[in-house]
């Protein structure tokens, strides 16, 4: 394990990118931080700037308006960075797969490290995904 990966193992900071979602995954992601689930116990928190982030959590189908912005944000991220597809939409396109305004699925735009299926995924599922990502580093 290199120095960078070792550093990444500690407190994972998450940048949340909503690429045309229905709000559900976003709310559940935020829910993970509130007292019931409290991800901040483990040093995981949402950050405002992509340059501070270790994880990009993408929700929504990533529509044509969001795609160039997502690519830009991904380029700005300090590497290594994990990309998590949160919910059915970024994983496969979900129910909006055939829409004229979609540019996704996510893995055709940027490389993805973890997929969280579900519409929306429960907070437990999101936590489990982050734990799995963390363990992948060992």
């Amino acid at each position: 394990m290199g120095f960078k990966e070792n550093a990444l193992k500690r407190s994972l900071w998450v940048f949340h990118f909503s690429g045309g979602s229905c709000n559900n995954c976003d709310i559940e992601l935020l829910d993970c931080l509130t007292p019931r689930y409290d991800l901040e116990r483990f040093g995981i928190e949402l950050v405002g700037s992509i340059r501070h982030a270790d994880i990009i959590a993408v929700t929504g189908i990533v529509n044509r308006q969001c795609k160039p912005r997502l690519e830009k944000i991904y380029k700005q991220a300090s590497k290594p960075v994990f990309v998590v597809a949160c919910g059915a939409c970024p994983c496969t396109g979900g129910i909006f797969k055939n829409s004229y305004h979609t540019a996704g699925p996510l893995d055709e735009i940027i490389p993805v490290d973890a997929y969280i299926p579900g519409c929306p995924p429960k907070p437990e599922a999101i936590i489990s995904a982050i734990v799995k990502l963390r363990n992948k580093l060992e």
Binding site: N63, R64, Q65, P68, N98, Y100, H101
Partner: protein
């Protein structure tokens, strides 16, 4: 039929192309597009109906624009219906009377290519920056495959 609807009927007796009572709560009034502002002004300002929204539909006979107005205390929805030519759909913007209509008219402009005359801010609204001009997703002749780039 309640008082407000009778008022509309009496006031614009000769201008109503077709009057259809779907049920006691739903009235559809077909009008010519040149009379639109008169109708909207009377219904919205004088009778005090609440402006709900506009719907644009591409039908084989042309593009239909529906203006939905609601009179909440009487449980009545009055819909004005006007038909535009599909080749060159142009209609007067009602946003000078109803400020809340600005957004939906921009949306209809995007998805159906209807031109609203005298709209204060006729810019792109809901489609992406890279969207092809002259491609209207809710038109009947819209080709999904052609536009998927």
């Amino acid at each position: 039929m309640n008082e407000e609807v009778i008022n509309i009927k009496n006031k614009f007796d000769n201008k109503i192309v077709e009057f259809y009572e779907k049920s006691k709560k739903r009235y559809y009034i077909t009008i010519e597009k040149d009379d639109l502002l008169d109708f909207v002004d009377y219904i919205f300002n004088e009778l005090g109906f609440r402006y709900m929204i506009e719907t644009g539909i591409d039908t084989p006979g042309g593009i239909e624009i529906l203006y939905h107005f609601s009179f909440d205390s009487r449980e009545t929805v009055v819909t004005l219906k006007t038909l535009l030519d599909s080749k060159e759909p142009v209609v007067e913007s009602i946003s000078s009377i109803v400020p809340g209509a600005k957004w939906i008219e921009r949306e209809i402009m995007d998805i159906l290519g209807v031109k609203f005359l005298n709209h204060p801010n006729p810019e792109k609204f809901i489609l992406s920056d890279d969207w092809n001009e002259k491609e209207y997703p809710l038109r009947r002749d819209y080709d999904e495959k052609k536009n998927n780039n």
